[in-house]
Amino acid sequence: MIRPDAPVLLEIRDLQAAVDDQPILKGVNLTIRAGEIHAVMGRNGSGKSTLSKVLAGHPAYAVTGGSVLYRGENLLELDPEQRARIGLFLGFQYPVEIPGVSNLEFLRVATNARRAERGEEELDTFAFEDLVRERLAVVQMDPAFLERSVNEGFSGGEKKRNEILQMALLEPVVAILDETDSGLDIDALRIVAGGVNQLASPDNATLLITHYQRLLDLITPDHVHVMAAGRILRSGGKELALELERSGYDWVDQELARLGADAERQPAEVA
């Protein structure tokens, strides 16, 4: 839902980031307002996951330029845990397994960290069990998953559902979902998309990173962006995704080639 007067939740300006001195993001610009659903598409290696991890504060990536404001606050100076507590959520492309840490306890500690930030009381194990059972319904997940270690031995689809369960518990303001659709069969895709749609509201926003139109058939984006070589090359409405589906990414390569000379010059300009 596009409302030009809706408050800006995330404002990314000329964001540049590197890993081991290797530049990956080369000037990303993106503005996300409350109530909006954005889709970022692009080939493998174009920098989509890097963008999501830089926003979440992964220590492997160094921000080398630009700024990110989250509801007007400088996001980049916050620890990853603080970003999460104030409502930024990253659904990982590859959720890691954490043996020995109970999923239920993990979810409870995470939920309470978010609640504390919002001035809400801490939930004890009993109150939390009630809440988690209710939210499990959003992703139609078997309560047995709560008893296991975080993501340990989960199938690809189960891991993704566990991500959406976390989103349902943390009630983020800005949710970034990195290829939450990949590796899902059609039923699981419906469940996950249904969950995302249920959680979307006029007060929050979602950034979907995906390769596939099939997710966007289920979750209608307000804006679609195409990423290439660490930048957003083109933005448009939901029809841009359909165009990509029809004509593929070849035009992206041509456009990149045309921009090549500029791109070469850019680091010098920044420095």
């Binding site: 979440a56 504060g57 992964h58 220590p59 492997a60 921000v63 980049l76 100076e77 916050l78 620890d79 990853p80 845990e81 970003r83 999460a84 507590r85 990253l90 990982f92 959720p95 890691v96 954490i98 043996p99 020995g100 840490v101 109970s102 306890e105 993990f106 500690v109 995470a110 960290a113 978010r114 930030e117 270690s149 975080v150 976390q166 943390l170």
Partner: protein, 480 residues
């Protein structure tokens, strides 16, 4: 930028027990000789049997070689550069705690071990050992009502010499190994526990060892005897000040469990570990062994080893009684330049004896952490069973972990099962937890306590939470 700590920083939390108590001590001159052994014995007014025990051990020690088979590296120890006896100057016989130097009480208060009546832990009796001597034992009268003897071994020598003579050195013979021989020659103090037949000890017993002097070795000796159908749970804790020299700690612990008796011995070891460059710290060479003498007896070792520059320690069980049970649950954490070579020996002698070994090694920094275990099944141990599980967790990429499981079986029917695993706390796992609002330190501690849960579950309740916190503290700054 964000203040994201590295796992490396997390371990380098200052050691909060590193203070030195300024108290006048009585020390004998440095060095070891037969005269020193005699001097220690005479200062303690010991009976002849004990002097003879010491002298025999000393002569055996002279013939022995320091073991070099452990995966440990350290410069040669100069045994003539150590003070073998140091005691805070105070009245020898304390009728009550009022006579204990307030500085000592204050020291133990600071260590979180209140000895004074009002503040002491409600269901734990404590024996506090400072350098070479025991300074106080709490709850003695209450224990005496049940016939339980809990005192320093020096007092036991005076008041119950027949028990000491009967059991001392019967589990760990004085010539068992180099460090046991040294301890047998010069041991100064330690705890003595006697649980009479049929008695379940009504409270936790605990000894707290504190090294204070910089040039003093600590050689404590602990002896626990559980008579038929009795049971006891005992916990030891230890800390030392920070010095840039190494102090030698060579203890011997002997446990005797008679028919249907059960002894649970837990250790939370937090000796000073040296600084991040490996300067200073305790050399911890300890021999601990339990003897399940009676049928259906049970001995369980639980250890949380977090301190010391060097740990050389293999709490073991000799399972002689039919159907007796030995257990070893261990968490050993090393950081910076710490080295640990620790594990257990389960010696199955009697029929249907069972043993369980659960070892969790955590290595961070540049440390090296080795598990070394022996499961031995003798020819008469028909139907013996062992289960061993040895897991290692690596934090960062500079630390090392080794597992050396030895199995010797003369019983083809015995069942011996060994499982091992190695894992690493990865930056991605930590980031995952952080990205859900969980602080960095809590994230590390969640992962580490998850890894150690099987062992922590074995600790007495009062100490399980402590152990959790201690580990988190030790790891402060080590990830990332």
């Amino acid at each position: 930028m964000s203040s994201t700590a590295t796992v490396g920083d997390l371990v380098s939390q200052p050691y909060k027990y590193g203070f030195v108590t300024d108290i006048e001590t009585e020390k004998i001159p440095k060095g070891l000789s037969e005269d020193v052994v005699r001097l220690i014995s005479s200062m303690k007014e010991e009976p002849a049997f004990l002097l003879n025990f010491r002298l025999r051990a000393y002569r055996q020690w002279l013939q022995m070689q320091e073991p070099d088979w452990a995966a440990l590296g350290y410069p040669p120890i100069d045994y003539q550069d150590i003070v073998y006896y140091a005691a805070p100057k105070q009245k020898q016989q304390k009728a009550s705690l009022d006579e204990v130097d307030p500085k000592l009480l204050e020291t133990f208060d600071k260590l979180g071990i209140p000895l004074s009546e009002q503040k002491r832990l409600s269901n734990v009796a404590v024996d506090a050992v400072f350098d070479s001597v025991s300074i106080a034992t709490t709850f003695r009268e209450k224990l005496a009502e049940h016939g339980v003897i809990f005192c320093s071994i020096s007092e036991a020598v005076k008041e119950h010499p027949e028990l000491v003579e009967r059991y001392l050195g019967t589990v760990v013979p004085s010539n068992d190994n180099y460090f046991a021989a040294l301890n047998s020659a010069v041991f100064s103090d330690g705890s003595f526990v006697y649980i009479p037949k049929g008695v379940d000890c009504p409270m936790e017993l605990s000894t707290y060892f504190r090294i204070n002097s910089g040039d003093t070795g600590q050689f404590e000796r602990t002896l626990i005897i559980a008579e038929e159908a009795s049971s006891v749970s005992y916990l030891e804790g230890c800390t030392a000040p920070m010095f840039d020299t190494n102090q030698l700690h060579a203890a011997v612990v002997e446990l005797v469990a008679l028919e249907d008796a059960s002894i649970k011995y837990s250790t939370v070891q937090n000796w000073y570990a040296g600084d991040e460059n490996g300067v200073g710290g305790i050399y911890n060479f300890v021999t601990k062994r339990g003897h399940c003498r009676g049928d259906r007896s049970r001995i369980s070792w639980t250890q949380v080893e977090t301190g010391s520059a060097i740990t050389w320690k293999y709490p073991s069980c000799v399972l002689q009684g039919a159907d007796s049970v030995g257990e070893f649950y261990s968490v050993a954490l090393t950081n910076n330049r710490q080295q640990a070579d620790t594990g257990t020996k389960m010696v199955h002698v009697g029929p249907r004896t069972r043993s369980t070994i659960v070892s969790k090694g955590i290595s961070a920094g540049h440390s090296v952490n080795s598990y070394r275990g022996l499961v031995q099944i003798g020819p008469k141990a028909i139907g013996a069973r062992n289960y061993s599980q040895c897991d290692s967790m690596l934090i960062g990429d500079q630390a090392g972990a080794n597992t050396y499981p030895y199995i010797r079986s003369q019983q083809p029917q015995a069942s011996v099962e060994h499982e091992a695993s190695t894992c690493r706390i990865s930056a991605d796992q930590l980031f995952y937890l952080q990205s859900r609002g969980i602080g960095f330190e809590e994230a590390v501690s969640m992962m580490v306590s998850g890894f150690c849960r099987d062992v922590f579950n074995q600790l007495p309740m009062e100490f399980a939470a402590e152990a959790d916190k201690l580990l988190a503290l030790k790891l402060e700054g080590s990830v990332g």
